[in-house]
């Protein structure tokens, strides 16, 4: 049997004289120290561990040896065939570019890119080039291959040769681009092409070699694009690092703070009224001070180590930061104290030989505590994005070859049919092909009421199926899903810069060195003009100025509020593209609302049924719907749906005939029905009576009336209209309350437009505007000196959205990344506009509070620390107070930003 194993060695290993360990598969030099004789055969092992494993369950390993089958696709000199999916092929000329690029590689026999299937078929000489180089060539041509990265845990590796073996086997599997196995972390990172090999197949390859695979915390889709890779970097790991840092800082804080108690006690023996033996000048106190000097070493260089490393790293880069200030401050206090303890004689007066160990201990303790608290608070600030990432489903139940199989979400491809049961998460975006249900989409749209979904309706990935089961076809997967785009947009916005931040950037570049200079000049001033003992005062002032200054509060003020604000928006279905959008949104004067689809539903529905000549409403509607069932006119659908909503019977119509420009006629239940406009009625000489007047009234309200005649007698009017969304009127009232001029823009005639405007409370109506002139009208408003927002559907209104200072796109379902918009409202309601404006106002207010706080704090704190109040009030800050103030100033900024998390729209 061993011979068999040997024969399966790859060609280049054939000359190797060793044998294979049946447990881990590594090569063992025979004779080995570890062996087992079984059934007359000797099995040798690399280690005692493997030997024991084999002894416990020899059959498992023997079976495995039998099962090992070569998975090499070709001989080392053969031709290899490769199919690679390519992303982003937009034109046929791209095909040539890619083909040319691939053909430049050595050993390429065939290179063919199929535009329709977005796949590259390459045949190449194995050994002359490899998959990785081909992917590189495609990348060089400017395209990405559809490549995924898999992180897999592997158990049972004991040695370096296991690593090479697994890597080699993986790399030789079709579809695997690269594999890197790490013995230390017991894991492998595998780049593969999802269509060619599945995660399970990859696992099988490893399992076959005798190792056990397990899923690590992050089996994540990491498309080739590096930026994606960065965002897909497991959040947990960062969270863990943050948690660890927090714990370390807390330990450092506790250590420093415990030691600071005796330091405070013995630094001011007269203040606490200690016994005479402990008073200044006594030998005992001197020894205590020496002890404190020793204890201060771990405080400075362990508890406060980050100040020194941070300061030094910054210094090397010719920059200075908070660490520079703290490190300089405590070092000055410490050096002075050490000199005072060890060489009190060098001071001209005994009074000068004072110690400031308490300053070192307390400042280190407090600033470290501040840093720890900041980590905690900041963790909360980024909760929104973490929640979004956490929304993603892990697996999908897909129908393949008639079987339902559970696969990781990364392997779902376009057009997969996915089955969703009640209570399950919908894994990707798609369209229902079978079944119906209600779906809770609140996590994406912010809409709390579950939405009914039927065949043909769109479902959004990460939303939760409530009641029924259904099957849907995947229309967007991977980074194209609504959720992935939302996450990307939120992350981008959070890292963007609000214009207000530029002021801060200008200041912060000069801040720290300026503080150092102020500290030096304060020292000089106090030394020259200050009261006795000058040196002591000068030193205290120097240290206090350095310690109180807080560049962190300044630097944090804007980004932290932006992060919370943008995250809060995402929670409510409002996607803000950038900090700039947020800042502009709160300065708006005027808001232009597109009528169709924004104020109104965007599709007609039945509004009125008026009867005459004794016909009943139900008869009129039911018969009309029966006629219209055969019609393809959009208004017809509204009538049919209206009848369905009232649960009326819809019958089959005979002799259906459409009279262009007039209406339709048909027979239902042997009754002759005419349905159409005035012209239609006149054509068939139907006496309308008062109906004509009523029809005009309906038209004035912006509705489309249609006359119905049954058996040559006027039966009534059915009116259809693009109805106003239920909350439009309320939202517009709120917009007005926010001080905005609300303008409606529409292509409708002014009569209809004014009617709608009146109903929703808009005074300024721009009617009969051609779609292409919408942008021009927005510009006209801007020329009036106004900051204008445009709200529209993002497709027809794109130019107007782009022209406006702020373009708000009302998205529908999964189309969230609307390029022209600065803000996207996932939920179709106008209330989102109100919310977006209120949120941006709240966020900007928060940023301003933070900035004011930070500037005010530093602007006031530094002069006071420098002793500005001393000549007038005899007031001088203690460095201890300065340390406390500094520690809590940045925590205050973060805490203030976190207040935004409680933001609620005032609706």
């Amino acid at each position: 049997m061993l011979k068999e194993v040997k024969s399966r060695l790859p060609a280049d290993k054939a000359g190797f004289a060793g044998i294979l360990d049946p447990v881990c598969g590594m090569e063992v030099k025979s004779p080995s120290k570890y062996f087992i004789d079984l059934d007359g055969k000797r099995y040798e092992f690399c280690s005692e561990d493997c030997q024991n494993k084999f002894a416990l369950n020899p059959n498992e390993y023997l079976e495995k040896i039998n099962k090992i089958e070569p998975s090499y696709k070709t001989t080392s000199s053969g031709i290899e065939k490769l199919s690679l999916p390519i992303n982003g092929l937009h034109c046929t000329s791209c095909v040539n570019t890619i083909e040319r690029e691939i053909k430049q590689l050595p050993g390429i026999k065939v290179a063919h890119v199929n535009y329709a299937t977005e796949t590259a078929h390459v045949e190449f000489m194995n050994g002359e080039t490899n998959t990785e180089e081909i992917i590189g060539a495609i990348k060089k041509a400017g395209y990405q291959t559809g490549q995924s990265t898999l992180k897999l845990g592997i158990r049972g590796m004991y040695c370096g040769s296991c690593v090479t073996k697994i890597e080699k086997e993986l790399k030789q599997s079709s579809g695997v681009i690269s594999a890197s196995v790490d013995l230390g972390t017991e894991s492998a990172i595998i780049n593969y092409v999802p269509g060619l090999i599945s995660i399970n197949e990859i696992k099988n390859v490893i399992d076959k070699l005798g190792y056990k695979t397990f899923d690590t915390t992050s089996v994540k889709l990491e498309k080739v694009e590096e930026k994606e890779k960065v965002t897909a970097e497991p959040v947990d790991e960062n969270q863990a690092a943050r948690e660890k840092e927090y714990k370390t800082l807390m330990k450092k804080f506790i250590f420093a703070s415990v030691l600071s108690l005796p330091a405070i006690l013995f630094s001011y023996p007269d203040l606490w009224g200690l016994p005479a033996a402990f008073q200044k000048g006594t030998t005992l106190l001197n020894y205590i001070w020496i002890g404190m000097g020793l204890l201060s070493l771990p405080v400075m260089f362990w508890s406060g180590s980050q100040f020194y490393t941070g300061a030094w790293a910054a210094f090397k880069n010719r920059s200075a930061n908070m660490h520079t200030l703290i490190a300089t401050g405590i070092s000055a206090a410490w050096l002075y104290s050490i000199v005072a303890v060890l060489f009190p004689g060098i001071f001209p007066t005994e009074q000068l030989a004072d110690v400031f160990f308490d300053v070192v201990f307390v400042v280190v303790a407090l600033v470290v505590l501040g840093m720890a608290l900041e980590i905690r608070a900041k963790g909360k600030s980024s909760e929104a994005i973490k929640k979004l990432i956490g929304l993603q489903a892990k697996t999908a139940r897909v129908l393949r070859n008639g079987n339902e199989i559970d696969i990781p979400i990364e392997e779902v491809v376009l057009d997969d049919i996915i089955i969703v049961r009640p209570g399950e998460k919908i894994p990707v975006d798609g369209e229902i092909v079978d079944g119906s249900s209600t779906v809770d989409e609140s996590m994406i749209t912010g809409e709390s009421i579950p939405v009914e979904k039927h065949k043909g309706d769109e479902v959004i990935g990460a939303s939760i199926n409530k009641t029924g089961s259904f099957k849907f076809k995947a229309t967007k997967v991977g980074k194209d899903t609504a959720l992935a785009q939302i996450i990307q947009m939120v992350e981008q916005a959070q890292s963007s810069k609000a214009p207000i931040q530029r002021i801060v950037d200008n200041v912060s570049g000069y801040f720290v060195p300026a503080v150092i200079i102020i500290a030096i000049l304060s020292f000089v001033t106090w030394y020259v003009f200050g009261p006795v003992p000058q040196l002591i005062y000068a030193l205290i002032v120097f240290v206090t100025v350095l310690v109180i200054a807080c560049p962190c509060a300044l630097g944090l003020a804007t980004p932290i509020s932006l992060m919370v604000g943008v995250g809060k928006g995402a929670e409510n279905g409002i996607l803000i593209r950038s900090g700039e959008a947020l800042e502009t949104a709160q300065k708006l004067n005027s808001i232009v609302l597109d009528k169709t689809g924004t104020i109104t539903e965007g599709k007609p529905s039945l509004t009125d049924v008026i009867t005459s000549n004794g016909f009943s409403e139900n008869d009129v509607l039911s018969l009309s719907a029966s006629v219209e069932k055969s019609s393809e006119h959009p208004l017809a659908e509204a009538i049919v749906n209206g009848a369905k909503d009232r649960s009326l019977e819809i019958l089959d119509a005979q002799k259906f005939n459409a009279v262009p420009g007039h209406g339709v006629e048909a027979e239902v239940n042997n009754r002759k029905i005419y349905l159409g406009n005035l012209k239609m009625m006149k054509k068939f000489t139907i006496e309308l009576g008062s109906l004509e007047e009523q029809s005009r009234k309906l038209a004035d309200e912006g509705k489309t009336p249609m006359f119905v005649a049954i058996d040559n007698k006027a039966a009534g009017i059915i009116a259809v209209a693009d109805i106003i969304k239920p909350d439009s009127k309320e939202a517009i009232a709120h917009l007005k309350k926010l001080g905005l001029e609300v303008v409606m823009i529409t292509g409708d005639n002014s009569r209809t437009a004014n009617a709608i405007g009146k109903q929703v409370g808009i005074d300024r109506v721009l009617a009969e505007v051609l779609p292409e002139d919408k942008a021009f009208n927005v510009q006209k408003l801007q020329n009036e000196g106004k900051i204008v927002a445009m709200v529209g559907d993002g497709i027809n209104d794109a130019p107007a959205l782009a022209q406006a200072d702020i373009g708000l796109a009302i998205g529908t379902g999964t189309d969230v990344a609307i390029e022209a918009s600065d803000i996207t409202l996932i939920k179709g309601s106008l209330k989102g506009v109100v919310l977006a404006i209120q949120l941006s106002k709240a966020t900007m207010k928060n940023i301003k509070e933070n900035l004011f706080g930070a500037f005010f704090y530093n602007g006031l704190g530094i002069p006071i620390a420098a002793g500005l109040l001393y000549p007038f009030f005899g007031l001088l800050l203690s460095p201890l107070i300065a340390g406390a103030a500094m520690a809590f100033s940045s925590v205050t900024v973060v805490t203030n930003a976190n207040r935004l998390r409680r933001f609620k729209a005032k609706l």
Partner: protein
């Protein structure tokens, strides 16, 4: 005025001048990144209390790959933000986090940590 006071004044002013010169006016050392085979300009940036190197020169129009390695757990450097480019990355400690950029327009593009304490810039020529 006593001698020690005069010395302190001179010393203080000299030190202040030096601080101003060192942090504000002295030339920072910039590292020019060579284009590697395949047209990618790749650089490794160590993150520890600062970015090393912190001023990098690249050529415009060619893909840039920055490999950030954060060699500390201090929370300050957790994020790196390229605000002009709307890019952000969370740097997991002791891991190489690549950021790929493609900048066509010459100019200076700053990057910084989450709160702007650590700074660096890319000079695109």
């Amino acid at each position: 005025m006593l001698l020690d006071q005069i010395l302190v004044i001179i010393g203080g002013l000299a030190l202040s001048t030096w601080v101003a010169w060192y942090f504000w006016f002295s030339e920072k050392e910039a590292v020019k990144i060579q284009t590697a085979e395949g047209g990618i300009q790749e650089a490794v940036i160590k993150v520890k209390g600062g970015y090393t190197p912190d001023v990098l020169i690249f050529e415009a129009g060619k893909p840039i790959k920055l490999n950030f390695i954060r060699e500390e757990t201090a929370a300050c450097s957790e994020e790196v933000i390229f605000s002009d480019l709307n890019k952000k990355a969370t740097l997991t400690p002791f891991k190489t986090i690549p950021i790929e950029l493609n900048i066509d327009k010459p100019g200076e593009y700053g990057f910084q940590c989450g709160m702007g304490m650590l700074k660096g810039k890319l000079i695109i020529e």
